[in-house]
Amino acid sequence: MTKAITLAMSLFAAPAWADWQINMNEGVTALSREIFDLHMLIFWICVAIGVAVFGVMFYSIFKFRKSKGAVAEHWHENTTVEIVWTVIPSIILIAMAVPATATLMDMYDTSEADVDIQVTGYQWKWRYQYLDEGIDFFSNLSTPREEITNVSLKNPNYLLEVDNPLVIPANKKVRFLITANDVIHSWWVPHFAVKKDAIPGFINESWVRVEEPGVYRGQCTELCGKDHGFMPVVVEVKSEADYAKWVADQKAMKLAMAGESSRQFSMDELVAKGEGVYNAACVGCHQPNGQGIPGAFPAITGSTIATGAIDKHVDIIVNGKTGTAMQAFKEQLSAVDIAAVVTYQRNALGNSVGDLVQPSVIQK
């Protein structure tokens, strides 16, 4: 019932979304503008051809109709005309191909980059590894479940928001090394005109040089399974100084995390923290209520793993399960997160085993 009401509410809210964007984003890089101009050039050429062809066609439809007494003529061939309308389009095509090839060559610029970031697609999140800075994190969709299921109103960045955005410096050449962990994904930021397939076992590259700081949003563009629509890309472009500060912060945070994992946690602390981890990392397959999806993803509630020996439970989360969609989470989650989510799964979602595991004993 509440669902129906919010649904009705969202119907009324519709005009507030009004965004009748009909054209490609011009983007924020020299290359994206070049592509945009190319797109507009081809578009206008098509419009011109369309006006000419449909002009003649509609003229014929209005002029040469039987009801107006038109009598059909008998000619049905004209070699000259046919040659002309083969040659002219060919010339137009060459005129299109020249700037297109030039743009393509700009895209394949292989000069050295200032920052190299490895982008890895996972079902259904992105991982960003800064090669030289040693920064490594996952980027998950952060839109609350309630907004997706229409229980609460949707925020303006609905489905285009993540917990940890990719951060890059402005005015620097940033090179992306794109690959995937499981199936093929595709990393796309429309404002950068960067779209590259992430292929498991193979590496692709792309690059960007953004002039203005800002937040730019994109999505995965290759069908990659159930939550393909729920793995956005968010890139925060910072000024050089802010970027340097962010890098320093990240490094400091990493040290702090290491200290945190040796602390003793209480059951309540772990369960509370675990709920957040569960909703970010597990909910996609095992579902909010822990029931899983029969035939595809097993339930947590009452499962032999979540109610059995705790070290087996930890092991499956840390190392994954071969041959299934269950990933190894040791790279994705900190020791604290793993301890928390294990404890949460054992003491919530309908389970009540009553034990807990401390981060300090998680063997990664």
Binding site: N181, P200, F202, T322, Q363
Partner: protein
């Protein structure tokens, strides 16, 4: 006329059916053809160099190339796997050695195979591996770790506009080696390791 036509039709139908069967075969022939094509063009960053095929070449000290190493653990591969150094600058033609660290954190013996990929793809034919852990499968006891060597050089013929080469390794779990034997038998292209 009917007799004659029938015969002709049968023959034509048979020919067309043969063509269809041939095209079915062609579909499979695309697999080795693709590898040959990739090998020549470096398409898709496939790097086929196997062992010391190219003898020592003169070192080009007029420029350096940045060679980066990255690793990917595919889904359900529990090993720790990372390059010992993230990148190095090399002169084209110069032999260089580096290592990759691998650890099997699980409680059972495992075998892994590293699959290389190079970007930009154009550079793939110019990265020569003299000796590489990716030539063979790598077994590791439960809990053991190792430093795996890579000896390589960049071909001095590398096009001038390429200044960075990234070599990526994806480490696959081949413990279930039954699966692998069949695979190498079926697409046997003389590539022992892959």
């Amino acid at each position: 006329m009917a007799q004659q036509d029938q015969k002709q039709t049968k023959r034509l139908a048979l020919r067309l059916a043969t063509a269809a069967v041939a095209m079915f075969g062609f579909g499979f022939a695309l697999v080795p053809l693709y590898d040959v094509f990739c090998d020549i063009t470096g398409l898709n960053g496939k790097n086929f160099s196997q062992g010391p095929t190219v003898s020592a070449v003169s070192v080009d000290t007029s420029r350096t190339v940045k060679v980066q190493f990255v690793t990917v653990n595919p889904a359900d591969m529990p090993w720790d796997f990372r390059p010992s150094v993230r990148s190095m600058r090399v002169f084209p033609g110069e032999d260089k050695q580096t290592t990759f660290y691998a650890k099997n954190p699980t409680a059972q013996w495992m075998v892994a195979q590293a699959v290389p990929s190079v970007t930009p793809a154009e550079a793939a034919p110019y990265l020569h591996k003299v000796n590489c852990f990716c030539f063979d499968r790598q077994p590791l006891e439960a809990g053991a770790d190792t430093q795996m060597p890579l000896l390589f050089f960049v071909d001095p013929q590398l096009p001038k506009h390429i200044s960075t080469i990234t070599l990526s390794y994806a480490l696959y779990d081949l413990t279930d080696s039954q699966k692998v034997t069949t695979a190498s038998q079926i697409d046997d292209k003389g590539q022992v390791s892959l």
